[in-house]
């Protein structure tokens, strides 16, 4: 029951029973949908895209439950053909009834098979389409979305919640329909058979309602406590396993185990109580069932002995009484399930409704053979209105120049990159590339201007060859290898057992941080765009290799514009221009020698990095 942020990708093994309402889960407090009606309407709209098929399947389900109601009626009737006094059987009538029962079972079989297959295919198709639409939507969302949301949350919306929309809602709705049909059908038949006996059977409604209410009120707070301790425990587990080295380095094992034991006990206590309370449901339902059965039998006995009610009718009633409480219980459970699924659907729709990246303006230009002139004009920007990141920043970079950005962590260096690549739009001011405001340039064409190597290197599942080729899908193997050589990645790739065919992925760590950075640089080299951006791209690469790469890139970027961001001052000292950023402004700008001569902020940085320290 590890819910919460956990990503569930566990498949359900074959189960031949629908989502009955009996499980303990039904008492778990689920998120309630905020606007159940609106959400439901949207889901119906989605279903309507497969309208006829789904409608047909639902009709079939309804027919099948109608038949399920009819079967005990006919079975009961067969007992009326037995004449107790003479111990003879009315064969003609019996065979007719048996044929009817058999025909009903057969019809039920055919209908269930057909509607099952239809439902299966439609619901899978529906999930497929929803997922595809969700993913397309993700592609159109601005970067801000990804920066402010946890990946786990988005993932679980795409997997669990989308699944819920189709499978849970479709199944639960069908079940709900069939349960309701069963209940009303049984009720109708019972009323037509005998009203006093019907009243006896109906006694179970208040009993089931009271039981459900009693259990729900007691178990809810336990489930909530369980959820809380579970979250706490998961957080603790995650932190300590990821930080195991530190736990050991500081000898905190014992302390952590003790802390864990405390939360673990709390979880034990709340889950135990929650389970006990919800576990009372089934046995007590059983008691109600049997109680009603006995009462019906007694009442039936009285009626058949005293008032000449047919034995077959009593037997029919007995099987109805068995059949009546179960769907009643499921209906109660199903409402909960549907409600939770609706809340999940809302989470999906919330993403679907998010504002997308603004469309290209109608007369957007295509940059053809961009040169790489960059100009910031009075640019202001903040991620959070309370804390401006860039204030009135202006600068001008000529094609072919190499510009380095330095400054403390959080000074706004990466923000300059974010704005230039239009990951974010400036709040005010303009950014121009080759004289065009980037908001008037087609996104596609804008993005062809940049090769970027970002702070956090990211590899995709696939071979090293695929990963480098990512920036230019049509590059030949030779071009990829040449790029790797430029990025000084070739030598380590060659030493790997499978060379360029070595498989890598985002999560497994068969490559060091430095090696990953080299691959990212190779990717940028291959792309060969007019503006190269290296954002702390070599922070984990040793300085010697870094210099080698720079030397190689320098030749390559002779007529391209480059932006360098680095903490290491040695990385940037050879740039044509160094811009020192602080407090959202450009504090100083000039070549290394100029800035050293100015004896300003940059000078202080360099000197402090070089100043000898020690007792001397």
């Amino acid at each position: 029951m590890a819910e919460g942020q956990q990503i569930h990708s566990e498949t359900k093994l074959p189960s031949m029973r629908g989502p009955g309402g009996g499980g303990a889960k039904r008492f778990a407090p689920g998120a309630k949908p905020k606007n159940a009606r609106g959400t439901l309407r949207r889901i119906i709209k989605i279903y309507l895209r497969w309208g006829k098929t789904i409608f047909a399947a639902m009709l079939l389900t309804a027919a099948a439950s109608g038949i399920s109601v009819a079967i005990p009626y006919f079975v009961g009737k067969t007992f009326n053909t037995f004449h107790l006094e003479t111990r003879t059987v009315d064969d003609g009538l019996l065979f007719g009834l048996l044929a009817a029962v058999a025909a009903l079972y057969a019809a039920n079989y055919v209908i269930n098979t057909v509607s099952g297959v239809i439902m299966l295919k439609v619901s899978q198709k529906l999930v497929f389409t929803l997922r595809a639409e969700f993913f397309d939507k993700m592609q159109r969302l601005p970067l801000e979305f990804y920066d402010t949301r946890s990946h786990g949350d988005t993932m679980s919306r795409l997997t669990n919640d989308v699944d819920n929309i189709s499978s849970t809602i479709a199944q639960a709705t069908t079940q709900l329909i069939s349960s309701l049909l069963t209940i009303t059908g049984s009720l109708a038949v019972m009323i037509s058979l005998n009203i006093p006996l019907t009243l006896v059977v109906l006694l179970c409604i208040p009993l089931v309602a009271a039981l459900t209410k009693m259990i729900a009120s007691h178990s809810r707070s336990c489930f909530m406590a369980q959820q809380r301790s579970l979250g706490e425990l998961n957080g603790m587990i995650e932190e300590n396993i990821l930080g195991l080295k530190m736990v050991k380095a500081f000898g905190r094992q014992q302390k952590m185990v003790e802390e864990f034991a405390g939360i673990n006990e709390r979880l034990y206590d709340s889950s135990r109580k929650a389970q006990i309370w919800s576990g009372f449901m089934m046995p007590l339902m059983n008691v109600i069932n049997n109680l009603i059965f006995t009462l019906t039998a007694i009442a039936g006995g009285v009626l058949s002995t005293g008032y000449g009610l047919a034995v077959g009718t009593v037997i029919s009633f007995l099987s109805y009484s068995k059949q009546f409480a179960q769907p009643l219980n499921s209906v109660a459970g199903m409402f909960n399930t549907i409600q939770q699924a609706l809340a999940g659907a809302e989470r999906v729709f919330e993403i679907m409704d998010r504002q997308e990246e603004p469309e290209d303006v109608t007369d957007a230009v295509d940059l053809e053979n961009p040169r790489g002139d960059v100009r910031f004009e009075n640019v202001n920007f903040s991620y959070d209105p309370a804390a401006p990141v860039l204030r009135d920043v202006s600068f001008d970079v000529k094609a072919g120049e190499t510009v380095a950005l330095v400054g403390e962590t959080g000074a706004g260096k990466t923000t300059v990159v974010n704005l230039l690549t239009r990951f974010y739009d400036a709040d005010s001011g303009r950014i121009l590339i080759d004289g065009h405001d980037i908001r008037d340039v087609k996104r596609d064409s804008l993005r062809r201007c940049f090769s970027v190597v970002l702070q956090e290197t990211c590899l995709f599942g696939g071979t090293i060859m695929d990963n480098i080729r990512y920036s230019r899908v049509d590059a030949t193997d030779e071009q990829v290898i040449a790029a790797a050589k430029t990025a000084r990645a070739h030598s380590f790739i060659k030493r790997l057992p499978q060379g360029y065919q070595t498989r890598v992925s985002g999560s497994t760590d068969n490559l060091s941080q430095g090696q990953r950075q080299l691959l990212a640089i190779a990717r940028a080299v291959l792309c060969d765009c007019p503006i190269l951006i290296l954002d702390e791209a070599t922070s984990s690469v040793d300085t010697k290799t870094e210099k080698d790469i720079q030397r190689a890139l320098l030749g390559l970027m002779k007529d391209h514009t480059s932006f360098l961001i680095a903490h290491r001052l040695s990385t940037i000292r050879d740039a044509d221009r160094i811009m020192v950023i602080g407090n959202g402004r450009i504090l100083e700008s000039g070549s290394h020698d100029d800035l050293m001569a100015q004896k300003g902020v940059y000078y202080n940085m360099v000197v402090s990095q070089m100043r000898p320290v020690g007792p001397a």
Binding site: M16, N112, G235, K245, K248, V257, S608
Partner: protein, 572 residues
């Protein structure tokens, strides 16, 4: 299931009582249709109200007894299964905390987390299930057959036939479905990994505009998932209605054959109607048994994963000499390869020594084995060849906790824990008072803490504020400093600090020299050049050892590193 023996022994009495209760409960349930048959045959058919009342009361009594058993086993089952789950989680966590690094490296941390959460809850569910319904279903199934046979042996032949067909159908569907379900799991993992990679690499996708490729990747995975989803369920979809049909045919047969026997007084109407109920009960029980199998298969996989954790190698023994070290370090011909790695040695025949109070810088290119030295000094791993001496004692002869107590580590990746800033700093020394915490923070140049909304009591981690990489590093340095251990190891611990702050931190460290041995792993020459000695590593080999001036004269690699960082291209 050997690993559960210990827990079974611990809770066997309530467990066995619960199992007995389930069995009794099942027996009570089973008596239902028989009693019903009595009510009908002896009461209603014979118009005997006393019999109806008599058997009706017995039936209610049996139901009440069954309910009592059910309530008892519910309480017992909940207690035992949750208790066992808590014990299992505790044991796993304690085990993981004492993992050897080699063991921890072998199992991915993400996987460890799911083992501790999802896999244990799977086991809890199964154990709970055993005491709840899993045993009940077979008992009900067999009991129904036995009771039906006792009620009317000839008529029960029909039931045997129905059971055989249903069991056969279920077996077939399971056999066909399982392999399809493992394929479905794989497709689902694939979709997850595509999305996860997309989320991690979204900047790159946007920067390179590779939307179509991504859409293609997702579509392939998504389509595969849909196909596997249909394939895995189609068998059940076909077979489930068949099961119902089988029971239907059985019902018709029972009534027909019953009617023939009724004529010759070999069966009563009560018998026949009881039979139809038994048949439904058997079907239900068989379906539950299918679920038991499903859960069992999953639990088996979970158990295997849990066992792997419990069987993993423990950390080095905590026996050996416990003493406070003075801080002499010596590596003698050390060779080391990461267990489970590619097998290539990371350190080769490495020898060097640091005297107490000295300051050593380790410098070298990416992947040269610098960090490995730090891990070995903490005895996270044992060397393959040669030895490491602390105060002239082999590190393997010292108590592991004592070694770690004597070495303060500031790691490359600063890992902080949820709790307040002060809590995190106190990791280094849980007894430190507020003044000491402040002092350590000051030395680490973590003056930003004062400016945080709650100062040293600001919460970090998921529940608290986010701080930048450079700020984390400074808290992590403070945590190392407050430990005041004889040996301080900084593994590239200032990489996210800007030049000015880094220089100030370095000054503080220099002030500690003489009292503490400091080992600094670094990429920056400017950091290394002021150390007493510098060790130059390349591919795990000692390429030079000496002071900055000595190395500039003798070591080609060091000269190159120095030049690349300090001298400009243009000047060169």
């Amino acid at each position: 299931m050997g690993i559960y023996k210990k827990y079974f022994n611990r809770y066997k009495i309530p467990f066995i009582v619960a199992v007995i209760c389930v069995t009794c409960e099942a027996v009570c349930d089973l008596m239902g249709p028989t009693l019903m048959a009595r009510i009908i045959d002896m009461g209603i058919e014979k118009s005997d109200m006393d019999s109806v009342l008599h058997w009706g009361l017995i039936m209610l009594a049996v139901t009440a007894a069954g309910a009592c058993f059910a309530v008892a086993r519910n309480i017992l089952a909940s207690n035992v299964s949750q208790r066992m789950g808590a014990d299992l989680r505790y044991d796993l966590f304690a085990k993981i905390m004492n993992f050897s690094e080699a063991g921890a490296d072998r199992i991915e941390s993400g996987s460890l987390i799911t083992r501790l959460t999802n896999d244990t809850s799977q086991v809890v569910q199964f154990v709970n299930g055993i005491m709840r319904v899993f045993l009940k279903a077979p008992v009900t199934c067999i009991g129904s057959i036995v009771l039906a046979s006792m009620l009317n042996l000839r008529l029960s032949l029909v039931i045997y036939g129905v059971v055989a067909v249903v069991a056969f159908l279920i077996a077939i569907s399971m056999k066909l479905s399982y392999p399809r379900f493992s394929m479905l799991q794989k497709s689902m993992d694939k979709v997850n990994s595509v999305v996860q990679e997309y989320l991690i690499g979204v900047r790159l996708v946007k920067a390179f505009g590779t939307y179509d490729e991504e859409r293609g990747r997702f579509k392939t995975a998504n389509e595969d998932l849909m196909e596997k989803g249909i394939a895995s369920q189609i068998i059940i979809t076909y077979i489930a209605p068949l099961l119902n049909l089988t029971v239907g045919v059985g019902t018709v047969l029972v009534i027909y054959i019953g009617s023939r026997m009724f004529g010759s007084s070999m069966a009563g109407t009560g018998d026949i109607s009881a039979f139809t109920i038994y048949m439904a009960q058997i079907l239900n029980a068989l379906l539950i048994i299918t679920n038991v199998f499903n859960t069992f298969v999953r639990t088996k996989a979970s158990t295997a994963r849990i066992r792997e954790v419990l069987d993993a190698e423990e950390d080095f023994s905590h026996m050996g000499d416990v003493k406070t070290l003075k801080g002499d370090i010596r590596f003698e011909h050390v060779s080391f390869a990461y267990p489970g790695g590619s097998g290539d040695p990371v350190l080769k025949d490495l020898s060097f020594s640091v005297k107490r109070g000295e300051n050593l810088a380790v410098i070298g290119p990416t992947g040269s084995g610098k960090s490995t030295i730090a891990w070995l000094l903490m005895r996270f791993y044992d060397v393959d060849d040669g030895r490491i001496l602390l105060d002239e004692t082999d590190i393997r002869e010292l108590d592991t906790d004592a070694v770690r107590g004597n070495v303060a580590l500031v790691p490359q990746k600063s890992m902080l824990f949820s709790g307040t800033v002060a809590d995190n700093i106190r990791w280094g020394n849980s007894e430190a008072d507020d003044a000491a915490v402040r002092d350590a923070a000051k030395k680490a140049q973590a003056d930003f803490i004062e400016r945080m909304p709650y100062g040293f009591d600001s919460m970090l981690g998921s529940a608290g504020v986010n701080i930048s990489g450079g700020q984390k590093q400074r808290i992590s340095i403070a945590r190392g400093l407050i430990k005041a251990a004889p040996i301080l190891v900084l593994d590239d611990a200032t990489s996210a600090l800007d030049a000015v702050t880094e220089a100030r931190v370095r000054q503080q460290l220099a002030a500690m020299a003489g009292k503490h041995t400091v080992v600094m792993v670094t990429q920056r020459c400017t950091t290394a050049m002021f150390a007493d000695h510098i060790l130059v590593l390349e591919d795990g080999v000692n390429m030079g050892y000496g002071t900055h001036e000595e190395l500039l004269n003798t070591c080609e690699i060091y000269r190159e590193i120095y030049r690349s960082q300090v001298e400009s291209e243009k000047e060169a």
